[in-house]
């Protein structure tokens, strides 16, 4: 029988892998992929609680908002990465130190 903790563990694995991507990758686009994994794991949690919890469809509604914000986030983030690439000719985050005094 598949119950709530099964989904929570899958979501925890997704979150940790996304975290690993954010922490260890130098390429900005790859870090964005890690952020997408983290957002997906949060969504999976919301939908699982909405299914097994006593409430209504509020969890799924929340997940829709998370997807909307993820779309907006990735559009703006890629614009920033492209501008950085134009300025510095590199997609690597640790070379983006223009603001450092």
């Amino acid at each position: 029988m598949i119950t709530l903790p099964h989904y929570l563990v899958v979501s925890a694995a997704l979150f940790s892998l996304g975290m690993l991507g954010i922490l260890t990758r130098r390429n900005a686009v790859n870090v964005l992929m890690g952020v997408e994994l983290v957002l997906n794991s949060a969504n999976l949690n919301l939908v699982a609680f909405s299914r097994f919890g006593p409430g209504n469809l509020g969890g799924q509604l929340f997940a829709v908002f998370v997807i909307v914000i993820a779309a907006a986030e990735v559009a703006v983030a890629l614009a920033i990465v492209l501008t950085l690439y134009r300025l510095r000719r590199t997609p690597n985050l640790d070379e983006a130190d223009i603001l450092k005094g």
Partner: protein, 166 residues
């Protein structure tokens, strides 16, 4: 083992396995295509959880929108003839340590907590209910989300515009 459990384990394996490829692959293109399978796996898990509308939304927006944008990002930030598209690793020790610690803590919490779960609801179409909730009690966040999307659209266009055109 009932059929639902078999499907769940297959989907979980696909999701987590391809997510591992996303994070660990040497090539950015491999990462992007593995992300496709992760999104499909999560959509399948949504179907198992009875969220049909959300599964369709996941496929439309993540696979059709966000993944394509990420691929554009990969292609535009590398020279086209630079075929290997490597992504280097930084923090080879602290990063896995933190991520592994988070996984252990989250798993322990998920397994040990006594969740107040009721009987799962029988699967029913959710689209109508979600639409009525958007147009009813959640109208204000719905409108705020549309304004957010408009601002993100204009902001992204504004940021990438070359200065000499301004």
């Amino acid at each position: 083992m009932p059929i639902g459990a078999v499907v769940f384990w297959i989907l979980a394996l696909v999701t987590v396995g391809s997510a591992a490829v996303v994070v660990l692959a040497r090539s950015l293109i491999y990462s992007a295509f593995a992300l496709l399978f992760t999104f499909f796996g999560v959509a399948g898990l949504y179907v198992l959880l009875g969220a049909d509308f959300l599964a369709a939304t996941q496929l439309l927006i993540y696979v059709g929108g966000i993944l394509v944008l990420l691929l554009f990002g990969v292609m535009l930030t590398h020279k086209i003839y630079d075929l290997d598209l490597r992504s280097e690793i930084t923090q080879p020790w602290a990063g896995p340590l933190v991520a592994g610690g988070i996984f252990v803590i989250l798993t322990a919490i998920a397994v040990q907590t006594e969740w107040a779960t009721g009987a799962p609801r029988p699967p029913a179409p959710t689209t109508r209910t979600i639409g009525e909730m958007f147009m009813g009690p959640f109208l204000l966040p719905f409108e705020a989300a549309s304004i957010l999307l408009l601002v993100a659209l204009m902001g992204a266009a504004m940021i990438v515009r070359r200065k000499k055109d301004a």
